[in-house]
Amino acid sequence: MIRAKNIFKSFGTQEVLKDISIDFETGKCNLIIGRSGAGKTVLLKILAGLLTPTRGEVWYDDTNFLTLGKQEVREIRMKVGMLFQGSALFDSMTVEENIRFPLDMFTNKTRKEKLDRVNYCLERVNLKDNNDKFPSELSGGMQKRVGIARSIVLKPMYLFCDEPNSGLDPKTSILIDNLIESITEENNITTIINTHDMNSVMEIGDRINLLYQGKLAWAGNKSEVLESDNELLKDFIFASPFLQKLRQAALEP
């Protein structure tokens, strides 16, 4: 479980996050949603330890992450995987080298053990036999899947996904969502996904947190989304007339 407690974050005079407190549950897909500029990415980066909050606490289970020393932070990070918006694959390395990188850097496994683990991860994301390709030879969806493979190669306990569906077609988006969901359930990972893809919200949103102007505006699960009277949530999720009609149809007895 990851817990954000009273998180504030300012850049200069601009206050981006204002008193955010959220519990992200283990074995579930915890979503952070909100309009552009709501502070989603900043919150995700604070939770992942890439940014330091101005005030507040981040707990990884029983450990206050922000009070840890460098070595302890490194130990926690060995248990963290992250999928970046642009995949962040190393251009000069092949798919295999990209996925193997954390194994090379942090483990003393033999070459065969590493290759077995890389192949397992590639198989898990349905990219078997793509070991020797470079990121530039892959489609956006394939790059995301390689990113997922790299993020799970060290068997993480916590998985962060920054807009995993951005730039992908609806079909590939569903594929990525389902992949993240199944990996989360299989390995009992605490997964935090930052998205504004409504399909993801309704498909995999075990726990949904809506940010609005740096504040937590609503929290609930996907079944509560339809019934909620929260105006900000309705305005954000059912933004188009088409989606509003869908909501009405779904609510009709």
Binding site: K45, G49, L50, E75, R77, F84, G86, A88, F106
Partner: protein, 248 residues
């Protein structure tokens, strides 16, 4: 302006402290160091060769012109080309050129990694990014740049020979006599001290410019330019300081 300079200097020191931390895995750093040695050393050899030969050639021709009609013996051409090259031109000009070639390349490479979130991806894995991205480049530069400077001084002397002996500005015997006259081994030490200091400056300044880049393509271009400009200024300043210290 002073507060800005102090801010950057502080950031630079913090980055260097992180960069000199114990590596997570020596073999990974070694692999990266070898790649950088190839990029910096082999990748810069042709440009260094060309520049050195022409510098030596021009020095010889210009000095021969200065000597024309004077009582200074012509073998001084070889002597002046040798000392000019070893003491000043080989380390300084080579490193100014390398600041342009290697420095801008380092800033663009690291800055690009910052913008494409590669550095964040490594941080999340637990990699000390300052150490992994900077130390191999620094070690490679400290090994390869003095070698390039040594090669540059040799080639400049050869360039002087090619430009002055076949054109009868000086006889072969006089040029060689000049090369062997008044040789002070200490000058070679000075050359290597300069090469080490300049290599350190151009590598770390370029890494700093790339590592802390923010924004998009324009900022990346600016970081690359700053890497060259700041490195060049600091190299010339260091050149002056080393000259004062080592010639007293």
């Amino acid at each position: 302006m002073i507060s800005g300079l102090l801010y950057h200097f502080g950031q630079y020191l913090i980055m260097m402290r992180a960069a000199l931390a114990r590596p997570e895995k020596i073999s990974m750093y070694w692999k990266e160091t070898l790649r950088q040695m190839h990029d910096i050393g082999v990748g810069s050899l042709i440009i260094v060769m060309l520049i050195s030969i022409f510098i030596g050639a021009v020095s010889a021709v210009q000095f021969a012109y200065q000597l024309d009609g004077t009582l200074v013996p012509s073998y001084y051409i070889g002597y002046v080309v040798r000392d000019l090259t070893i003491i000043e031109l080989a380390p300084t000009i080579t490193c100014l050129v390398l600041a342009g070639k290697v420095g801008s390349n380092i800033a663009a490479e690291i800055g690009g990694m910052r913008q494409k979130e590669h550095i964040d991806a490594m941080e999340i894995m637990g990699v000390n990014t300052a150490a992994y991205l900077i130390t191999p480049k620094l070690v490679a530069a400290l090994v390869m740049i003095p070698l390039l400077v040594a090669a540059a001084s040799f080639l400049a002397i050869m360039g002087g020979y090619v430009a002055s002996v076949p054109t009868d500005l000086v006889t072969q015997a006089d040029y060689v006599k000049g090369l062997r006259s008044f040789f002070v081994p200490y000058n070679v030490t000075m050359m290597f001290v300069k090469a080490f200091v300049f290599a350190f400056i151009l590598t770390t300044v370029s890494c700093y410019q790339g590592y802390f880049v923010k924004g998009g393509a324009i900022e990346l271009g600016r970081a690359s330019t700053n890497a060259v400009v700041v490195s060049d200024i600091l190299i010339l300043l260091a050149d002056y300081i080393i000259a004062i210290i080592m010639t007293q």
